[in-house]
């Protein structure tokens, strides 16, 4: 057992932390979030230059030879800085799908471009009526000549306004919610029939509703197995979930630190409120939640390559714990900041909002507690009688 970071990982962490400190302070971020674009392509280019976009990929694929732990390191730092750029959808999800199941030609064309920052992907997996069920799909891809025609509506596609390409799940066979009959497609966002409606999210990012109106894609656009993409989608979603857990750890840590510092400065009844035991114990509880979140993030990240059931249980356990921790730390941070915590001006509220939305991405606490329980039930000996 080893919980140490490699030299490369430490280097990534240090250089990214420096970049965020110097170019991603809270006021700068506020300006970016409120700008028309809502992100900084030049910052994405800097991430590429630092090697962040190629960190989790093997050397054969043209990456730096890292893996999920490298993505974890990046996302924890992103969480500390409330970075809005789409690392999870583009690098972890689309990059991950290509890494696991992409053809050589697809890797050449798309994975290299993701690593260099030239192409930006968003992951269009959710639908308006599907909630967190990755198989609950009404979007269809019907065979037409050598390729497919896509029709349907994808919901809250994070980062889509900034994307050049979309990774889209659609039904090629079977009925709604059936595990079989799902395929994954690469779609150029400028293709005819792709209609998007862009909007900001409550936590400072951008997303789109994406409509496919008879969009033609060639057969080479399919990633992985036709009709059999669900296991791949689940794997990528688990990797994304672990990355979000890491982001939540970074976010929680900062919110906690801000709260402790605020409690040492803010005076009431003639004394810093941090001297009150009732608040001290709550800040200790926040600390314990944060520490346990780090532990769960390590656990889930290190189990991403385990067999399916073990991987899913580990990721769900982490997402449950971190969803609960994030809610607790966020709510307490606002409460202890008092009225100031309610203001748009202070950073702490923005950390609260990001933690809140992380719970909603790729399945909330209830969803993952249910998935964990169902997987545990499968492991029980069959009922007697």
């Amino acid at each position: 057992m080893d919980f140490n970071f490699s030299e490369e990982q430490t280097m990534i962490r240090d250089s990214l932390a420096r970049l965020i400190r110097e170019k991603y302070d809270f006021d700068t971020r506020r300006g970016v979030v409120n700008s028309d674009a809502g992100w900084r392509p030049e910052m994405w280019a800097q991430f590429a230059e630092l090697g962040l976009l190629m960190a989790p990929f093997s050397e054969e694929d043209g990456g730096l030879g890292g893996g999920a732990v490298d993505a974890m390191v990046v996302m924890e730092e992103f969480g500390k800085g409330l970075v809005v750029e789409p690392y999870v959808p583009c690098v972890v999800c689309a990059g991950g799908a290509l890494k696991h199941a992409g053809s050589e030609a697809q890797k050449q064309e798309y994975l290299s471009a993701i690593m260099s920052g030239e192409k930006v992907f968003a992951f269009a997996y959710a639908e308006p009526r599907g909630r967190y069920d990755l198989a609950d799909l009404e979007t269809t891809a019907t065979k037409s000549g050598a390729g497919y025609t896509l029709n349907g509506h994808k919901a809250v596609v994070i980062g889509a306004p900034w994307a050049s390409h979309l990774l889209v799940s659609a039904r090629t066979a079977g009925s709604r919610r059936e595990p079989n009959g799902i395929s994954l497609f690469i779609v150029d966002k400028s293709a005819s029939g792709v209609v998007t409606r862009d909007y900001p999210t409550v936590d400072g990012r951008r997303a789109s509703e994406v409509h496919f109106e008879n969009v033609s894609v060639p057969a080479e656009a399919v990633v992985g197995e036709v009709d059999g993409a669900l296991p791949l989608i689940e794997r990528v979603a688990d990797e994304a979930t672990a990355a979000l857990c890491a982001e939540a750890c970074g976010t929680m840590g900062v919110a906690h630190k801000m709260t402790v510092e605020y409690s040492q400065q803010r005076k009431q009844f003639g004394t810093p409120i941090g001297k009150f035991q009732v608040l001290q114990h709550r800040m200790v509880d926040m600390f314990m939640e944060h520490e346990q979140s780090i532990s769960m993030t390590y656990m889930a990240t290190l189990k991403l390559d385990e067999p399916e059931t073990e991987r899913k249980k580990a990721v769900s356990a982490a997402k449950v714990r971190i969803g609960q921790a994030g809610r607790f730390v966020g709510q307490e941070a606002i409460q202890i900041h008092g009225g100031m915590g309610m203001t748009e001006e202070l950073a702490v509220g923005h950390y609260f909002k990001r933690m809140t939305m992380i719970d909603h991405e790729f399945g909330n606490v209830d969803h993952h507690l249910k998935r964990y329980t169902a997987l545990s039930a499968e492991e029980l000996p069959a009922a007697a009688e």
Partner: protein, 398 residues
Amino acid sequence: MNLEFSPEEVAFRKEVRQFIADNYPRDFIGDGARDDLSREQFLAWHKILGEKGWSVPSWPVEYGGTGWTPTQKYIWSEENARADTIMPLPFGVSMVGPVIYTFGNDEQKARHLPGIRSGDVWWCQGYSEPGAGSDLASLKTTAVRDGDHYIVNGQKTWTTLAQHADWGFFLVRTDPDAAKPQEGISFLLIDMNSPGIEVKPIITIDGGHEVNETWLTDVRVPVENLIGEENKGWTYAKFLLAHERSGIAGVARSKRGVEKLKEIASTELLDGEPLIRDEDFSRKVSQLEIDLSALEFTELRTLAGEAQGKGPGPESSILKVKGTEIQQRLTELTMEAVGNYAAPYFRGFPQAGSNEYPIGPDYAHAAAPTYFNMRKTSIYGGSNEIQRNIISKMILGL
């Protein structure tokens, strides 16, 4: 970063598992309630481990420790939990032992360490008093110097298993006029057979006799039984409490407890189906398992830090708080799982050899008493509120 065990560690686990299977005296100790065991039953495994050289793994090798890595110690405790062993009690092995080899003189080490290792000498802890619980430094038991002796007077309480003890380590006040209450305290080793010591049972809410009141009236203690310097006892006491906190998480035991809970809940029925398949109940079990996993990996991170020479710091307070919360929730759920048969009370009630039919399943008998008993865990060893004070002060700097 990785979670793999090395081939050496895998081999070590195999060796340990085999040793426990071959040597643990299960027939002699039985599977009864812990505090109903006799002195000999309590010490049986300790003595076997003493002969093997495994009774004090965490001690420095020069004093009889095994030199195991933190991972090996983790494997050792996992395997013992898996086999439901009655481990050596902490009072000698993890409490006074480390104080003696760290602060004691050569004579004290030579006299006391062998008996702790072998399990021949039973130790108890004389810390708390009726008026000094969480505020331990307010203790009033006095030791007054009289030639080559201290004369000790006072009352200690919650003295765990003192009914079996040969020796006790006591915090006593040697300077009543010290500027701070912490500064007038000394750390004394006292022979429990000394005239003037009286041990009276306290029966706890589970019906067990685990703790005692210990009265000391003009007890003559030779000065050679003073550890370190007079009036510096608080330093040694704090050192001991830090040791007590590490390992207090009880992860391996709780993991075993979850397995047992699942077995029980697979047997118990609700609406004709196994209770474990009930949506509400199974989610409570899931939440418990998830929280236990968070604790386990927090402990592993702490162990990894220790392997790199970072001693158990104030972070170990997290392990105490979360570990005891989980132990309590586990016993609570186990009692819930048992249902109606949580009610019958059997302690001291003749069952063995009785011709009557048994009442309820075997696993039900201890469920409620264990739940009652485990409420102690968030109170002892520095209550969970005191642990929060420690984190607040030492880590958050508040």
